[in-house]
């Protein structure tokens, strides 16, 4: 049973993506250059006022969306491609490799998501590219595990067995039959992991791991605006609202895309929910 389409979420996402792409057209100022006096309030000469160094807040928000959204998509792509590859490989090849890969997945998931990403940032060195890479890499084990278990259940379907009995090769089967069948699930998992990438990147940047505090990015804006909570709350409230709207929209869309499957084992549902909880 499909829920009704989440209109607000869709509209917001489209607005955000289009707005980010059209950033130079929508903003009169440079996100790095000061445009006025520092901490100007909303409604003055600058639409949303200015930040602590006099830069136009609206400009930084729009460019911030560009940075955050493109970084999240990039990280999610890394997770999805890597996850599909490893998950299918584990299922396809089976045997010892499968067990090793599963062990690797479980091991990496023993380190909670955020810490795992921080581990990767630590290894590569702080910076915005490493934050993206780290967020992408840290999602791979969970995604791969999901892909693996879904692939396994599709593999057991009667028509696949029939095809094998007729002599179809495993690899061919995986690429042309199993993978397409996972489309809906992958889309649903994909949105969940997009949300995780988004959360991960904004949190890592909030912690200061991007290295350069002048980058217009929503997580960085949250971090640098903290000092001005009382004088200029809009510096963190506005990025905060944008971040919340985006995450909630992604999740709404994700829920709408997932078809609810009734499963016998209740623990299965707990597992899928766990991956959503890891977004924290």
């Amino acid at each position: 049973m499909r829920k009704e389409m989440p209109w607000f979420a869709l509209i917001w996402i489209i607005l955000a993506v289009v707005g980010s792409a059209a950033a130079p057209l929508l903003t009169p100022y440079d996100p790095i250059q000061p445009a006025g006096a520092p901490l100007e309030p909303i409604g003055g000469s600058l639409l949303l006022g200015s930040d602590q160094l006099g830069r136009d807040l609206w400009t930084r928000l729009v460019y911030g969306g560009r940075a955050t959204l493109s970084a999240s998509f990039l990280a999610a792509s890394i997770t999805i491609c890597g996850g599909i590859f490893l998950g299918l490989a584990a299922s396809l090849i089976g045997g010892l490799l499968e067990r090793l890969l599963l062990l690797l997945f479980n091991a990496t998931m023993a380190v909670p998501g955020l810490l795992l990403a921080m581990l990767f940032v630590g290894g590569i060195g702080p910076g915005f590219p490493s934050v993206i890479l780290a967020a992408g890499l840290s999602g791979i084990p969970g995604f791969a595990r999901l892909v693996h278990s879904q692939a396994e259940s599709v593999f057991r379907q009667p028509y696949i067995e029939a095809a094998r009995a007729l002599g179809a090769g495993r690899v061919w089967l995986y690429i042309f039959h199993i993978l397409p069948n996972l489309r809906t699930e992958l889309l649903s998992f994909g949105t969940t992991y997009l949300a995780w990438a988004f959360t991960g990147i904004t949190t890592l940047n909030f912690l200061g791991l991007a290295g350069d505090p002048s980058i217009p990015e929503w997580g960085v804006l949250l971090n640098t605006g903290r000092s001005y909570l009382i004088q200029a709350p809009q510096l963190i409230l506005l990025p905060g609202v944008f971040i919340s709207l985006t995450i909630l929209s992604i999740f709404s869309i994700g829920e709408w895309l997932s078809t609810e499957r009734v499963t016998e084992r209740s623990t299965n549902r707990v597992e899928i929910r766990n991956t959503q909880e890891e977004a924290l």
Partner: protein, 524 residues
């Protein structure tokens, strides 16, 4: 049966955990620290932050009066200098007792100096302050002599710093490498505990009876003082307002203004002597190896706007190689107002022409590109961001890298990949400029090699501080530094301190950062 036991077991575990707390004695005063140093041993470590608590744990041979700037007696009652200025002899007080009961005498002072001068101990600051000191000798129980290789005008200044605080030889012997966690001095407060990045505890030392003359001991000073760390500027105002902290410095300007307007808080703006917030140009790396480019970079930055935006009205734009509070140089500024148009002309003259396509200046096919290594403290990242904005308008490509520690700044210098590095030391005597601008100075981060500059600095360091020739020599050195544009100074350091209204008597030592805690009284 299983189910019923589970919840009680969880509850019992949680109770046990909460019961594991030791009884916490409430301190009378909480002081907020804003940097977490790698170590707080005054003889071995260099951070100024460590002096904030330790100024009250240790005494030095001499002190500098915060008002007059003159040297007054401390652990030494009197001193004399030989005519050749190579030997300083100090007569120590005979009534001083360390916190652990052992007496202070000349042999104790010798032990302290040996420790500082031992190369295996790698003293990061104390040793460099001592300059050409070769050794010390014990003349009798309370008389000690310092022997110099050549005259050195800054010796008394060195001996007045907390880094030369006298520690108990018994404690040094007992604790060895762990001494920083069990420090024993002669000051008005006893060192109780240090938990890195968490807290430092001090307790009143009742037997303290040898304060320097300018100290005005409060009738009811705090008994127990705790220091907590607030390395994140955003949390400092919060801590003050919530009552968690009573005194804290390095408060961001807008928070300071807001809190000062409230009746619960008073603000002190304490100028800190030493070098201003500044950046060293790397003179051996292109394009900053070209003096025209350096001057252009200097002219291209609107320093007044930067200082006003970030530091409000509390700070002055830096006018010289040392802050104006040191009164080393005449009032007129060497680093005067800047002119962006001049910057454009200089860059054109240097051969860097504006390329419409890329938006940057180009020479021989490559763009004009600068890398800055900026410390995380003192609002350096914000200053760099505004400098970058100014320079990008001139067509210069700028990359900022933020360095969270002194070690990383040093690595940045050694890698020779950065055109500007931000670093500044504090101090009350210009002699330390030698480390920064001499050819083989320890912190010669502009890589300058100028014999005339070396000569001026070395000669000046030999002279006694009150001689006019000394000022002339330093002025000449400063001219040279300015003419070669070795540095880009931004602002004279001012420490904005917020103190709770119920606390009276807050005064800072001559070095600026260190509070004289024994003078405090708390109104109940």
């Amino acid at each position: 049966m299983n189910k019923r036991l589970v919840y009680p077991i969880i509850a019992a575990f949680l109770l046990l955990l909460s019961g594991c707390q030791e009884p916490y004695k409430e301190p009378d005063l909480v002081y907020g620290l804003t940097l977490s140093p790698t170590g707080i041993d005054p003889h071995l470590n260099a951070s100024s932050e460590l002096g904030i608590p330790l100024q009250s744990v240790y005494d030095t041979l001499v002190f500098r009066d915060p008002e007059s700037g003159q040297f007054v007696s401390g652990l030494a009652e009197s001193w004399s200098i030989t005519d050749d200025e190579l030997t300083y002899t100090f007569s120590l007080r005979s009534d001083v007792v360390f916190h652990d009961g052992t007496p202070l005498n000349a042999s104790a002072v010798e032990t302290n100096l040996d420790r500082i001068m031992d190369p295996d101990n790698h003293s990061q600051k104390a040793l460099s302050l001592l300059g050409p000191l070769t050794d010390v000798s014990v003349d009798d129980e309370f008389t000690i002599s310092f022997h110099l290789r050549e005259p050195y005008g800054a010796l008394l200044d060195a001996l007045s710093q907390v880094y030369m605080g006298m520690a108990s030889p018994a404690a040094l012997e007992e604790w060895g490498a762990e001494y920083q966690f069990h420090q024993v001095g002669t000051g008005p407060y006893r060192f109780i505990e240090y938990i890195p990045d968490s807290s430092i505890l001090l307790e009143r030392y009742e037997a303290y009876a040898w304060a320097p003359p300018f100290i005005d001991i409060s009738p009811n000073p705090p008994e127990r003082i705790e220091f907590r760390f607030y390395t994140d500027p955003a949390t400092r105002a919060l801590a003050l307002e919530s009552g968690e902290v009573d005194i804290m410095g390095e408060i961001p300007v807008h928070d300071a203004d807001r809190l000062a307007a409230e009746e619960d808080f008073d603000m002190l703006a304490v100028p800190i002597p030493g070098q201003p917030l500044q950046y060293f140009f790397n003179t051996t790396l292109s394009p900053t190896s070209d003096p025209l480019v350096r001057e252009a970079l200097f002219q291209g930055v609107d320093r007044s706007a930067i200082v006003e935006t970030i530091f409000g009205t509390s700070s002055r734009v830096a006018s010289d190689v040392l802050s104006i509070s040191m009164q080393t140089f005449p009032a007129s500024s060497r680093f005067a107002e800047t002119n962006a148009e001049l910057a454009q002309e200089l860059l054109d003259t240097a051969g860097w022409f504006f390329d419409e396509e890329s938006g940057f200046r180009i020479k021989d096919g490559s763009p004009l590109s600068i890398r800055i290594a900026a410390p995380t403290w003192g609002m350096n990242p914000e200053v760099c961001q505004l400098m970058r904005a100014d320079w990008e308008r001139l067509g210069i490509q700028v990359e900022i890298q933020v360095m969270p520690g002194f070690g990383q700044l040093k690595e940045a210098h050694e890698s020779n990949e950065f055109h500007l590095i931000g670093i500044n030391f504090f101090g009350t005597d210009p002699a330390f400029l030698g480390s920064f601008y001499s050819t083989d100075g320890l912190y010669n981060w502009s890589n300058v090699k100028e014999p005339e500059l070396d000569r001026r600095l070395q000669t000046a360091a030999r002279l006694q501080p009150d001689l006019p020739e000394r000022s002339v020599l330093y002025a000449g050195a400063a001219d040279s530094i300015r003419n070669q544009t070795l540095i880009l100074p931004v602002r004279d350091y001012v420490n904005l301190v917020l103190v709770r209204h119920s606390i009276h008597g807050l005064r800072y030592s001559a070095e600026g950062w260190f509070p004289l805690l024994i003078e405090l009284s708390i109104e109940s």
